[in-house]
Structures are given as structure tokens and as C-alpha cells.
């Protein structure tokens, strides 16, 4: 590929690739919040259980516990759009991987339901009255559910690109697929979720801070430390992942196709580190540092999501699919979608705005 993503592809393919990546970015934001947030909650359980912290004010764990079910709902809702477009782009690969993993794949659904209810359970007073062990087990259970889902998606994704292994895996009847890239790739995405969660929670705490609910004064520093550690770990995992790649795939990632996006991702990481270092020096949340961090985060996520796609494009020959993409693009409905996308975006904003209405009822 001698042009940068997505310009080297025919119009229809480029269009679907772009819309897929953009919708995936939204999903990744929510997903990162849930995955890293549950992990952080587990850490909070351990920390609070040990009695080492006895400080006051709002903490990230309180916000996470409160918002986690909504974030998971958001992750599922936002996940529907890329799930739709991946079927247009890589239909046979995606379907085959689903079928080969069979029950192992389908089990993510009940697992997600269990994880969802565990998040609701973590919000209840009932769980707060239970022992530290019970609270820890429930949090660990939720984390396991989301980690398992992440593992399954990574497995599915890698299998969908490894067409040579399909007949053999099917014949063996195995529903488990292992690839040497699996763990470093999963690790990169898992620890890479930490800076996203830290930033989103920081924004939430900032909003609460503005409304007079003062966060704990150590929280900005804690979140900054957490984000920087997350960034460092994800860079380490990315290095390991890059090392595991074949030279052909690596050349796609660093070459014309995805090189600029890789660079954008790295620049985004640097901006995030600078912003967090700035935030870490303060005892209150600073919107300027958070805004800079957000810009960096967005750059990193868009960059890395595109790099992820470039890796897939290096593994799958999409040339025969161009015709099908062009056929799909001819189907009607795009303008209806765009119109309702706009209308519903306004309605969503209105719904959020309505929650700020004045309180008038207190009878019940």
C-alpha cells in the first residue's frame, strides 16, 4: 500500500473503513472506562480493605461505582455500530471466526450479563454492608467478566485474520485459538485502557468539583500517577507486540499506510504525559490540563485504532472484497441515516440538558 489510510483504497472501501474506525473509537472510550474502571475498583477494595487510606472527599472509586453500569451500557450501545460495519468490510472473516470459536465465543454474552449485574450490585447499600472479602469477590468477578470478553474479542479478531488455520481448527473441534500475538496485544489494549479511564474520571471529578462537591485533594495526583503508569505499561506492551509481528506486518504499521497514525499516537502519548505531569502537581482538577490530556488521548486512540486496522489489512487480502463494498455502498438509506443521526444527536444533547433542570419535587 503506497498511500496513507484510507486513501489507497477504492471509494466505497475507504468510506466503510473510515466509518468503522470512527465508530470503533467511540466504543473504545466506553470500553476502556469499564475495563480499567473495574480494575481500579478492585484496587480500591484492596486499598480500603487494608485501612491504609482514611482521607476525605470524593474519590475516583466513588464516581466509578456510580457510573459504571451506564458506561457498560454505553460500551454495548456504541459497540453495535462498529459491529455492523465490520460485517460489511470483512464479512466472511468475521463470521468464520465467530463460528470456529462457537460456544467459547457465544459465552461472552451471559458473561457480560453477569458482569453488568455485578456492577449494579456494587452500587447497592447491600454490598457495602457485606465483608471486604465479599465486596472484593464481586468486584473481581466483574473484572473477570470484562477481561474474559476482551480476551475473546482479541482471540476472535486474530483468528479472523488467520485464514490458513481455519480448516485445521475446525477439524480439531477446538474452540480455543492461541496466537503468539494474543497476550501482548491483549495486554496493550488492557493497560492502554487505564489512561482513558483516568482522564474520563478526572473530568467527572472536575464537574463535581465545579458543583461544590470537593474531590479528595490527593485524587488529582493519584489519577495522574495511574495514567502515567498506564501509558508506560502500554508502551511496553506495544513494544512487545511490535516485536512479535512479522516484518511484513511491521512494515505496514511503520510505512506509508499507518506510519502517520502511529506517529499521531505517539505524539498523543507525549501530550498526555505532559498534561498529567502538570495535573499531578495540583491539588484540584485543572480544566486546561485535562483538555490537553483529552486532545492527546483522542490522538492516541484514533492513531492506535487506525494502526490496529492497518495490521488487519496487512493480514487479509481485501482486494476481492472491493466489489462487494461497492455494491453495499449503492444500497439506499445513507441520507436517512445522516438525517436521523443529526436529529438524534440533538435529542440526546437535549435529554442530557434536561437533567440539569431545577428540582421541584421532593414529596416522595
Amino acid at each position: 500500500m503506497d498511500r496513507t489510510f484510507p486513501f489507497g483504497f477504492p471509494g466505497a472501501t475507504a468510506f466503510y473503513l473510515t466509518i468503522y474506525v470512527l465508530t470503533l473509537v467511540i466504543h473504545v472510550l466506553f470500553m476502556n472506562y469499564v475495563l480499567a474502571g473495574t480494575g481500579y475498583l478492585l484496587f480500591c477494595r484492596w486499598r480500603d480493605g487494608s485501612g491504609s487510606i482514611a482521607d476525605r472527599g470524593l474519590r475516583a472509586g466513588d464516581v466509578l461505582r456510580d457510573w459504571m453500569p451506564f458506561a457498560l451500557s454505553g460500551a454495548i450501545t456504541a459497540g453495535v455500530a462498529p459491529l455492523l460495519f465490520v460485517q460489511i468490510l470483512y464479512k466472511e472473516n468475521f463470521y468464520t471466526a465467530n463460528l470456529l470459536l462457537y460456544h467459547r465465543w457465544m459465552v461472552i454474552l451471559p458473561v457480560l450479563i453477569i458482569g453488568f449485574y455485578m456492577l449494579y450490585l456494587l452500587k447497592t447499600q447491600w454490598i457495602e454492608r457485606r465483608s471486604a472479602l465479599t465486596r472484593g469477590v464481586v468486584t473481581l468477578g466483574a473484572l473477570f467478566c470484562f477481561a474474559f470478553t476482551g480476551l475473546s474479542w482479541t482471540e476472535n479478531h486474530l483468528l479472523s485474520t488467520d485464514t490458513a488455520s481455519w480448516p485445521g481448527l475446525y477439524e480439531s473441534g477446538s474452540m480455543v485459538y492461541y496466537h503468539r500475538e494474543l497476550l501482548p496485544r491483549l495486554g496493550m489494549w488492557a493497560v492502554g485502557s487505564i489512561p482513558t479511564m483516568a482522564l474520563l474520571v478526572a473530568w467527572q471529578l472536575y464537574v463535581l468539583q465545579r458543583s461544590g462537591q470537593e474531590p479528595n485533594e490527593l485524587e488529582p495526583r493519584r489519577l495522574a500517577l495511574l495514567a502515567v503508569v498506564g501509558i508506560a505499561l502500554s508502551v511496553g506492551c506495544a513494544g512487545l507486540y511490535g516485536y512479535q509481528m512479522t516484518s511484513e506486518v511491521r512494515s505496514h504499521v511503520t510505512g506509508v499506510l499507518a506510519g502517520p497514525f502511529l506517529l499521531a499516537g505517539v505524539v498523543g502519548l507525549v501530550i498526555q504525559i505532559v498534561a498529567w505531569l502538570d495535573q499531578g502537581k495540583k491539588t484540584r482538577f485543572c480544566p486546561r490540563a485535562l483538555a490537553a490530556g483529552s486532545a492527546g488521548l483522542l490522538l492516541t486512540i484514533i492513531g492506535m485504532t487506525t494502526v490496529r486496522e492497518a495490521i488487519r489489512l496487512a493480514s487479509i487480502d481485501v482486494t476481492p472484497l472491493y466489489v462487494r463494498h461497492a455494491e453495499s455502498a449503492e444500497k439506499g438509506g445513507l441520507y436517512v441515516f445522516l438525517a436521523f443521526f443529526g436529529i438524534n444527536a440533538v435529542l440526546v444533547a437535549w435529554a442530557i440538558r434536561l437533567t440539569r433542570s431545577r428540582v421541584v419535587h421532593s414529596a416522595d
Binding site: E92, T96, L99, G333, A351, S362
Partner: protein, 472 residues
């Protein structure tokens, strides 16, 4: 023309239809609960803010919490599960649906986002909001939920009645197909019914309220059951617009279809009758057990209705376009020529258990053409269905499959494959012995070819439709 091959999983002794059916019914029930719940809550909010019911607000907040806990979790995830399960059962069908209607699905997604955001906004902040904001949020939620139904209904009803889409391949011809409106209105009323019955269950759990207050709430909720009166007319409309052969199965042509239709109608009548006498005329008080029973009946009616909707589509998943076994109508001739599994890249999982190569070929043919609706010895098992047929009868009946049973697709392979399938059924029926003689009689194969030619490559539905019209 390239026929895609997928790694097909074996569900023995179950069949794929049972899995997708069970999940589909659960999802439809929960989704309709969410849709009707929105409408019901708007009504109760109106009762509260106009002072018509002093406890409507209290009920509303409790009801919404349950709706979020059930519908936003299990309802949403079973929706995703429907997609994944359809991929497991028939990747080609979902592939066609996505190709044709991806922008419709994307549009539905925008409404889904609205539903989730408005719903959570009400869930988190509703208690502290003024009436006007509460009502607006509930209306936004209801619009989001109902339009999700609107869009998905177009895709689902297209499968049975593609209408003009068959000729012009236009998304909107397919979407606004002949059964779109009756199906949409029917489902809207069903949603309201489910939500009302669920409300009766919830109200009975509000033990902090006096019985007379609970009774008042129940009567208000029961008022939302009154649109059920339109159901017979809508059912009649729906039956009139579906293809005549599909209708004939419901009207007695297929015992299973007629029975499930009967279950759906009887359950609906029972609910409607109880609603009329007990709730709307206010002759009876409905307690928690009765409300739960009525809700279970509504589930039964949904199950019966969905079974019929799926069943009457046979032998297609997309009428006149894609057969139930994921073979396109225009591919049958080609597959008869080149063999249906010649290009299948996936080996058998347990090739060693078969006594000879012919049986292995038969197993591949069974996997590709039959296993979506049949097992070998379990549910809808071939050894049961064809067990009493003689070998020649099997050959002829399978060669002329669409004539043997009009809800079956034509056999889409060559004579050698058909003979291999016949041998496989007999081998299974014989208890899978270690040795089995390979049959290769040229006369038999010639006879099979002749039967295949006589049956043709089209489904029997067109002929059946013509026959039904002639009879009338």
C-alpha cells in the same frame, strides 16, 4: 458465482432453529416490554402531573427502575446475542440482511442511542426533575424505543414479504413491504400489553400502598390493554398480506403452525378476556400471582406468534431469494451441476467414524444442506422423518424434495451427493456399523438425475400459490 462456505457447527440432538427461536422470543418479549413500558410511563406521568392519580409518580419511578434493570441489561445484550446467534445459525442470512439494510440498521442505532441516554437520564435524575422535564425525557425515551421497533420491523417483515424488492432491489421497497404496517401496529399493541401486565406485577409488589391505591393503579395500567381489541383485525390484515402458501400452513396446512397460531390466539384471548372483565370493567382484583400468570400467557402468545412468523417463511429465510439452508435460489442449478460440497474447504470433524468415503460425502452434504433445520437422530431427525421410507423412496423424495414437502427447498446437489446422503441416513438408522457397502449403480444415479430434472430447481411455493389461487 461464488458460493461462500462457512464452518458449520453440529447442534445434535438439538437444531439451530430451537436455539435462535428460544433466544429470539426472549429478546422480542424484553424489547417489547421496553417499548410498551415507555408508552405506559408517559401515560402515568401524565396522570401524575395532572393530579389524576396521587400515587402514579411513585409507581412510575419504581417501574422504571425495574425496566432499566431488566430491559437495559438482558434486553440490550440479548439484542447483540441475536446478531451473534444468527451468525452461528445462518451467516449468509444475516450477511444479506446487513448488506441490504445496513443504513436502516445504522439509523435504528441512532434511536437506540437516544433510548439509552434518555432512559438513563430519567433513571439517574428523574426523581428530582420537574414534571415537564420528566415527561420530555419519557417521551424521548419512548420515541427512541418505538422507532427502534419501526426500523427493525421493516427488516424482519421484509424476510417474509419482500414485495417489490424482488424486482427493483430497492431498500425502501423492501422496507415498506406488504406486511410492514400490520406487523408494526400489531407489535406496538403487543408491547403495550406486555408493559401493562408487567405493571400489574410491579404494582402488586408495592406493599407499602393501601389495597385501594394499588387497585386504582392496576385499573389505570389495565386501561393500556384496551388496544388489544384491535388485535383480531390486525391479525386478519397480516394474514391477508402474507403469501398464500404461508397462510395456508397457518390455516391447517401445517399442524405445527396451526397449533402454535392457536396457542398465540388462545393466550391473547385469555389475556384480553381477563382484561375486559376483570380490569377494565373492574369486576376483579388482580393479585400478584394472577398478574404473573397473565404475563406468562403473554410470553406464550409472543412465543407462538414468533414461531409462526419464523415458520411460515419456509423454505426461505428471504422469500424467493435465499433458502432456509442458506443457498440462494439462483445457485441451485449451479450446485446441481458442480456438486454442493465440492468446493467446501472445511473437512469433517470426525471423519474417522464413517465407514467409507461415500458416507463422508453424505455427511458433508447433510452438514451443508440439512443441518440448519434437522438433526440426524434428535429433534426433527432425518432418521425419524425418513426412517420408514424404502431406499428408492428416499432417493425420489429427496430428489423431489420441494414436491415431497412444499416447505422444503429443492435439493441443491448432484446425483452422487444425493445417493451419499441417502446412504448416510440408512447407515445412521442401522446404528452406524463399522462397515458399509458403497453404492455406485449407474442406473440408480441416472434415475436420481431424472428425478432431479423432473423436480426442477425452483421451490414449490410458486406452484403452490398458483394452485391455491386456482382453488379459490
Amino acid at each position: 458465482m461464488d458460493v461462500p462456505y462457512y464452518p458449520i457447527n453440529d447442534y445434535e440432538p438439538l437444531i439451530k432453529g430451537l436455539v435462535i427461536g428460544g433466544l429470539g422470543i426472549t429478546h422480542v418479549f424484553l424489547a417489547q416490554f421496553a417499548i410498551g413500558g415507555g408508552m405506559l410511563m408517559c401515560y402515568f406521568q401524565w396522570l401524575a402531573q395532572t393530579g389524576r392519580s396521587p400515587v402514579a409518580r411513585q409507581f412510575l419511578d419504581g417501574y422504571f427502575k425495574i425496566l432499566v434493570l431488566i430491559s437495559f441489561v438482558v434486553g440490550a445484550l440479548t439484542g447483540v446475542a441475536m446478531w451473534f446467534t444468527t451468525i452461528q445459525v445462518s451467516p449468509r442470512t444475516i450477511g444479506v440482511m446487513v448488506d441490504e439494510f445496513h443504513w436502516v440498521w445504522a439509523t435504528e442505532w441512532t434511536f437506540f442511542c437516544l433510548e439509552v441516554v434518555a432512559g438513563y437520564a430519567f433513571y439517574r435524575c428523574g426523581r428530582n426533575l420537574p414534571d415537564r422535564s420528566r415527561m420530555t425525557l419519557l417521551l424521548l425515551y419512548t420515541v427512541g424505543a418505538w422507532f427502534s421497533l419501526f426500523w427493525i420491523n421493516g427488516i424482519l417483515s421484509w424476510q417474509l414479504t419482500p414485495g417489490q424488492w424482488g424486482e427493483d432491489r430497492s431498500v425502501w421497497s423492501g422496507f415498506f413491504n406488504p406486511s410492514f404496517w400490520p406487523s408494526l401496529i400489531f407489535r406496538t399493541i403487543t408491547s403495550l400489553t406486555i408493559a401493562s401486565l408487567a405493571a400489574c406485577v410491579v404494582i402488586n409488589t408495592m406493599t407499602e400502598l393501601r389495597r385501594d391505591l394499588r387497585r386504582e393503579l392496576i385499573n389505570r395500567a389495565a386501561f393500556c390493554l384496551s388496544p388489544m381489541l384491535l388485535m383480531p383485525a390486525l391479525g386478519y390484515w397480516y394474514l391477508n398480506v402474507i403469501p398464500p402458501d404461508s397462510r395456508s400452513w397457518v390455516e391447517g396446512g401445517s399442524a405445527a403452525m396451526t397449533m402454535f397460531m392457536g396457542i398465540a390466539v388462545a393466550a391473547s384471548l385469555l389475556i384480553g378476556g381477563y382484561a375486559l372483565v376483570g380490569l377494565i370493567a373492574q369486576r376483579l382484583y388482580i393479585n400478584g400471582a394472577t398478574a404473573t400468570l397473565l404475563l406468562a400467557l403473554a410470553f406464550g402468545a409472543t412465543a407462538g406468534g414468533e414461531f409462526v412468523r419464523e415458520g411460515v417463511r419456509k423454505p426461505f429465510t428471504v422469500r424467493e431469494y435465499l433458502f432456509s439452508n442458506s443457498i440462494r435460489a439462483d445457485e441451485v442449478a449451479l450446485l446441481r451441476e458442480q456438486g454442493s460440497v465440492t468446493a467446501d474447504p472445511f473437512p469433517l470433524r470426525n471423519a474417522g467414524i464413517y465407514a467409507n468415503e461415500q458416507l463422508r460425502l453424505g455427511a458433508k452434504v447433510y452438514r451443508f444442506q440439512c443441518s440448519i433445520c434437522h438433526s440426524m437422530g434428535g429433534v426433527n431427525g432425518l432418521t425419524h422423518l425418513a426412517g420408514t421410507w424404502t431406499t428408492d423412496q428416499k432417493r425420489m423424495n429427496i430428489a423431489k424434495l420441494q414436491n415431497t414437502k412444499p416447505f422444503m427447498p429443492p435439493f441443491a446437489g448432484n446425483a452422487e451427493e444425493l445417493e451419499a446422503l441417502v446412504q448416510l441416513i440408512e447407515w445412521h438408522a442401522a446404528g452406524m456399523p463399522r462397515t458399509w457397502e458403497t453404492t455406485s449403480n449407474a442406473t440408480v444415479l441416472a434415475e436420481i438425475r431424472q428425478w432431479l430434472d423432473e423436480a426442477g430447481t425452483e421451490s414449490a411455493t410458486r406452484r403452490e400459490v398458483a394452485l391455491i389461487r386456482e382453488e379459490r
